[in-house]
Amino acid sequence: MMLIPCPFCGPRTESEFTYGGPVRPPRPDPARTTDAEWVAWLTEVPNPLGPVEERWCHLRGCGSWLTLWRDTRTHAIVGGPQDAG
């Protein structure tokens, strides 16, 4: 089970958290974007074999949202995109 660092409560077990999905690029301005770019933003998410940046919510705790990097091969929480777990 992962030990997730909550910014408010400190390290807590994964079962207290809900998964919020990978971090997406910023939402494009619908007035200035093409259909293809809009669809790509809606449907394509980062799916790396390695560290991915993602959101978690401490739902069964303080309710804070946090962002962390996690290696999809090991589930280890890592420092950043270059840091293999």
Binding site: E14, Y19, P22, E44, N47, L49, R73, H75
Partner: protein, 416 residues
Amino acid sequence: MQRYSLLSLLRHGLNRHTTWAPAWRSLPLRERYEVIVIGAGGHGLATAYYLAKEHGITDIAVLESGWLGGGNIARNTVTIRSNYMRDASIPFYVKSVTLYEQMTRELNFNTMHSRRGMIDVIQTWGMMRDRRRRQHIMDLHGSTYEQITTAELRRRIPALTGGGAEARLPILGGFVHPEAAVNRHDAVAWAYARAINAMGGEIHQQTPVTQLMRGPDGRIAGVVTPRGVIRAPKVAVAVSGHTTTLTETVGLKLPLRTMNLTAFVSEPVQPLIDVIVNCPDAGFYLSQSDKGELVIGGAPDPGQSFRRDIKQTVFEDTVSAMLSLFPAFKGLKMLRQWGGHLDIAHDASPIQDETDVPGLFVTAGWWGGYKAIPAGGLTLAHLVATGRPHPLMAPFSIKRFRHLDYVMESGTTTAR
């Protein structure tokens, strides 16, 4: 191909089984093929089989990073069924169930197909409405769903003792899908490999593809492996889970996420359950293997994962859900656990199409892809050989995302 029969069994038995020919050859890897199929899993093998059988294309190399039958075809719960929701999905799965039923005879290999039926245990009125709706849609497409009472459900599954009036979610009734079956996953892989080999196709194990290659004209040109570059004008990617890892090597993004689906088996026990039991409200399903083990599966973990074991949180959730309906299973010891990684498309339906890289085909997003193997191979072979989608797979084109024309399928086993 030497045929398997009672007579051949007797003949080779008299020779103490020392005279059987190998079921497939290991040929030297060539530099060029007409079609490369990446992945000797169920979908890759079925594609190669139908390319040879239906379209006469035998200059095929199936490249496998591990060993034959060792990928996701060995990491599932061998459930075959067609109780889906959407008009686009049901005919495809009806075809797949039919092809599975004919497989033993067609491939002369015992796949141990056991049509034992599936019973859905319904515990909420919302799920009851969903199943009634599915029943009507399935009726239109030749698949069967029948409602049964709670008393009949308990008669058919005596081990199901939970979910009574005192439970948090009392059982309201059940739905029976008689076409559902289980078979032997290794036999499916070996039967296809043997048939492909007999028609002239090649299977190369221990040959991982590290990169796809594009030619100067932008078309696919071949693949890079540690054993060298292999060229082909057509490449089909059937690598469940690692699809984006491969397509990103030619700059192609796909609306897929890789997730982990959990399964585990108990110690073998006496015959106890003779149907596949699916509990969509509780969030688990199980069946009993011929060896007596209970094969148990749960919901996927939502986080992206390339790991091939199971997560403790998912295991605990699945076991507690199972004990709410089968309290006697508390005494069972679990023998093995595994996770398969699969890619799930943005709308949870499969993607099978030629990509923006001409000559590069993908078959992906098979959330519960085991049941889809024969029909998925049939349709991909049709697409690769003719350049046109097979009618059964036409709705699952990658172009649907361009128009946000999703096929929102909720027919996966544990979708809640």
